[in-house]
């Protein structure tokens, strides 16, 4: 019997209208766990480097994590994996809420979509009933509108819906897939649109088997209580309950990632901005089986109710030099269009700068308003319709800059691997963060950072006390943390390890479906975290029956991570692409950066050109990957790489 997972994937061919329920290999779950891990394996096996992201052969995969639908608290993240036309590379995003558990109760661990529907459709799943249905009546409809219409016509209030808006339909690269309080972004929405799939509506009523039900139940209930009791300090998204925005408004850059305003926040603003939230807040809401309530639903007159998550509470405001009221109004509009709240504000601020610089003119932007806020609304309408210059802007900053030309390239200073990054402008190079920005393949730093504290506790006695009970950390990190002098960088060796530990935590979470707010993302602020490499193996074993310990868990995550690197290597990713955004740090150090990368690649078992070596691949049981890379001339048999022009 299969435990924790259903053992079946749903294979949908949208070109041919073919639907199949396919049994999966339990061995893959042992090797890659599930979620992102097993999705990566499918992408490696079935989508070669020659496949254009907009081709029928690209796959769009919705994966429930291994622990979704089990009693494990906060395991509700669904992974969406595909290839993005924006980056040309592997693209991945996660969303919480209720979708994944419902899909599992319907009897599927994954929904794998291939092909393209000739007309707009939605996918309806109710246990064994799976149908591709006409969605022409939903064309151009907002994401929440779509969910509401579908719920009504399906006469089922318990159906869970994930949908794209106009942005996704028009293949805007910043398009997201929206599911109430959660959304998947980073390049998955435009592929859903390209496939002609407006939404997925899923309803499931079947049981999910648990290997050791009683023991798991006990463990879960204790964890549930612990997460709830420690919620303020150690878990969840503080932004939704916090009205004091000093940290974000001071630390992140405003406009097109241009300027830090360290004196922007005044004490009285906590009450003023707090009131804006209070006046429009409907309630805080949770994701499936989580004791926290990180999502705020907000209503604005004349707008649809929306949900904000995390730093998207401020991204539009800061990009436009506006306030919270503006930001809320903006999310209300962009959530309906299905636009990502991280990358979209960057594109809008970039366009405004181009206009100020005379690179975009009134010819490109007829009747362009004077006020930046109004400009943002104006630009959004152009972008989601790919109208005029909106067509270029819809391809994200990197590509738009090159399409517009005329010096626009110089304004693209905040992307990595052709993808918009968080707007930062800092002083000294930060070693672990340099590595994470340069080498990460989840494209957003929030999906890479997290385990190791960002700063040392100044008081050494307090620091010692912290390290005493630091269960999440392997021993070596305790030593490095104790030795860390405030205002200095950790050693190269420590930095390499920190970058690796940080990202490995996310690869674990994203395979098992755990929310990073109670796990991989949360350690960096110096607190205890509910889940980590040392206690997760128990949850995984008791739920799934997979025999796993900390070492094996680390190895499984490394296996998925390495496979994803190889997937991107096959698409041309090389060392030369591994750079942080252009002016993220004011003071750079080429020699140290080179050393950091050299050491990191060595540590990871990658060649100097950032490709996993044959030995490393063999060690992880990925010999088939090595063989493929050698056959393609990407790796040589003696672990050396031929000098080849990178093309990512």
């Amino acid at each position: 019997m299969r435990y924790a997972e259903t053992g079946y994937n749903l294979e949908i061919d949208l070109s041919r209208g073919n639907i199949e329920r396919v049994a999966t290999d339990p061995r893959d779950s042992e090797l890659y766990l599930g979620g992102q891990g097993t999705a990566a394996k499918i992408l490696w096996d079935r989508v070669g480097p020659e496949v254009d992201p907009f081709s029928e052969d690209n796959l769009l995969i919705f994966s429930a994590g291994l622990l979704q639908g089990t009693p494990v608290p906060s395991a509700n993240r669904t992974s969406v994996d595909t290839f993005s036309a924006q980056t040309g590379l592997y693209s991945h995003s996660l969303f919480g809420g209720f979708f994944g558990p419902e899909m599992k109760h319907a009897g599927y661990d994954k929904i794998i979509l291939r092909g393209k529907s000739p007309k707009l459709v939605y996918l309806y799943i109710h246990n064994d009933v799976v149908e591709i249905r006409d969605a022409s009546h939903l064309a151009g409809k907002g994401t929440m509108d779509t969910a509401e219409i579908l719920k009504k016509e399906l006469r089922d209030s318990k159906v869970q819906i994930a949908a794209i808006g106009l942005a996704g339909e028009n293949r805007v690269y910043m398009a997201a897939i929206e599911h109430y309080n959660s959304s998947a972004s980073r390049g998955v929405g435009h592929i859903m649109g390209d496939k002609g799939l407006k939404a997925i509506a899923v309803r499931g009523t079947k049981d999910i088997n648990i290997a050791k039900p009683e023991e798991l139940h006990k463990l879960c209930m204790d964890k549930y209580t612990e997460i709830y009791d420690k919620r303020v300090k150690y878990a969840g998204d503080v932004l939704t309950h916090e009205n004091n925005e000093t940290f974000h408004t001071n630390s992140f850059a405003w406009g097109n990632a241009r300027e830090r305003r360290k004196d922007f926040w005044k004490p009285e603003m906590t009450a003023e901005w707090g009131k804006v939230t209070e006046d429009h807040l409907l309630r805080h809401s949770a994701c499936y089986n989580c004791p926290l309530d990180c999502h705020a639903s907000i209503t604005y007159p004349g707008r649809r109710t929306f949900f904000y998550k995390c730093y998207s509470k401020l991204t539009y405001a800061m990009a436009a030099y506006k306030d919270l009221h503006f930001n809320y109004d903006m999310i209300a509009v962009t959530q309906e269009y299905g636009l990502d709240g991280f990358s979209t504000p960057q594109v809008l601020a970039f366009a405004c700068e181009l206009y100020e610089a005379g690179i975009l003119t009134d010819k490109d932007l007829p009747d362009f308003p004077k006020d930046t806020g109004e400009r943002f609304f104006y630009l959004v309408e152009k972008i989601v319709r790919r109208e005029g210059v909106g067509d270029a802007l819809a391809n994200g900053v990197y590509r738009a800059a090159r399409q517009i030309g005329n010096g626009a390239e110089a304004y693209d200073h905040n992307t990595t691997k052709k993808f918009e990054q968080l707007p930062l402008k800092l002083g000294n190079l930060n070693y672990p963060f340099f590595l994470m920005y340069a080498t990460g393949e989840k494209m957003c730093i929030t999906q890479i950072e997290g385990a190791f504290p960002q700063d040392p506790i100044r008081d050494i006695e307090k620091r010692k006390a912290f390290v005493e009970g630091w269960e999440a950390a392997p021993e070596r990190f305790k030593k490095w943390y104790l030795e860390w002098e405030p205002r200095t960088q950790p050693s190269i060796e420590a930095s390499v390890n920190i970058a690796d530990w940080n990202e490995t935590g996310h690869y674990v979470d994203d395979s098992i479906g755990m929310c990073a707010y109670v796990s991989s993302f949360r350690g960096q602020f110096g607190g205890r975290i509910p889940y980590h490499m040392y206690n997760l193996p128990d949850f995984i074993s008791l739920a799934s029956g997979i025999d796993i310990d900390t070492d094996k868990l680390w190895e499984a995550a490394t296996r998925s991570r390495t496979l994803i690197r190889a997937i991107n290597n096959r698409r041309g990713l090389r060392r030369v692409d591994e750079k942080p955004p252009g002016d993220h740090w004011k003071y750079r150090d080429a020699a140290v950066e080179k050393q950091l990368l050299d050491e990191y690649y060595k540590f990871k078992g990658w060649t100097e050109d950032a490709i996993p070596t044959k030995e490393k691949l063999a060690e992880l049981g990925l010999d088939f990957v090595a063989e493929d890379l050698i056959n393609r001339g990407i790796l040589t048999d003696n672990a050396d790489t031929p000098v080849k022009e990178p093309s990512a």
Binding site: P213, S285, A286, R304
Partner: protein, 177 residues
């Protein structure tokens, strides 16, 4: 005097976490905790985040026929569907019907095997949307309630007649043997 056990529901406090569904279905699964399937929970949260509607409803037991009490209520500007607050397992909807057996589901206040001091859904609702209440009321202490299986069978007997039900059971048994 008889003791009446109820759960008071504050829909303003519910955050839609569905922990109540999780714990109820796990505790009442056979074998215990073998699965946590919200569809088998005796409490369901009828929610629509877009309309800000969150209504936890615990199963009140089987009702024979569709009632004629349908109405649409608007409260605080929010429109609640027909049947939104109804606790019955009733033929006109799929709520509180076990998806495998088709039998109606009914809340037993967690007094089943082993009896709990406090309903588990109440215990695990950290948002305090659910509160357990016992009150004394005039009247006789209720007879022991029929268990779920009996309730289900009674309804089948009513709808199809005892003979038909017996025949079907015999057929099922034969198939199984």
């Amino acid at each position: 005097m008889k003791k009446v056990k109820t759960i008071k529901v504050d829909i303003d406090k519910c955050n839609g976490c569905r922990a109540c569904e999780m714990i109820c279905s796990a505790f009442h699964a056979t074998p215990k905790y073998s699965s946590n399937n919200p569809e088998k929970s005796k409490i369901r949260v009828l929610f629509d985040p877009i309309k800000d509607i969150y209504v936890p409803v615990y199963a009140g037991g089987y009702t024979e026929a569709e009632c004629n009490g349908w109405d649409i209520y608007t409260i605080d500007g929010k429109e609640y569907d027909e049947c939104a607050f109804c606790r019955a397992s009733c033929p006109s909807r799929d709520l509180f019907t076990d998806p495998d057996s088709g039998l109606p589901l009914q809340c037993d206040m967690c007094l089943d095997d082993p009896p709990q001091d406090e309903p588990l859904c109440v215990k695990w609702c950290h948002a305090d949307a659910l509160t357990y209440e016992e009150r004394e009321e005039e009247g006789e202490e209720a007879k022991k309630k029929p268990d779920e299986m009996e309730v289900g069978l009674q309804s089948l007997v009513k709808n199809h007649g005892a003979k038909k039900v017996m025949e079907s059971l015999a057929k099922l048994k034969q198939e199984k043997d």
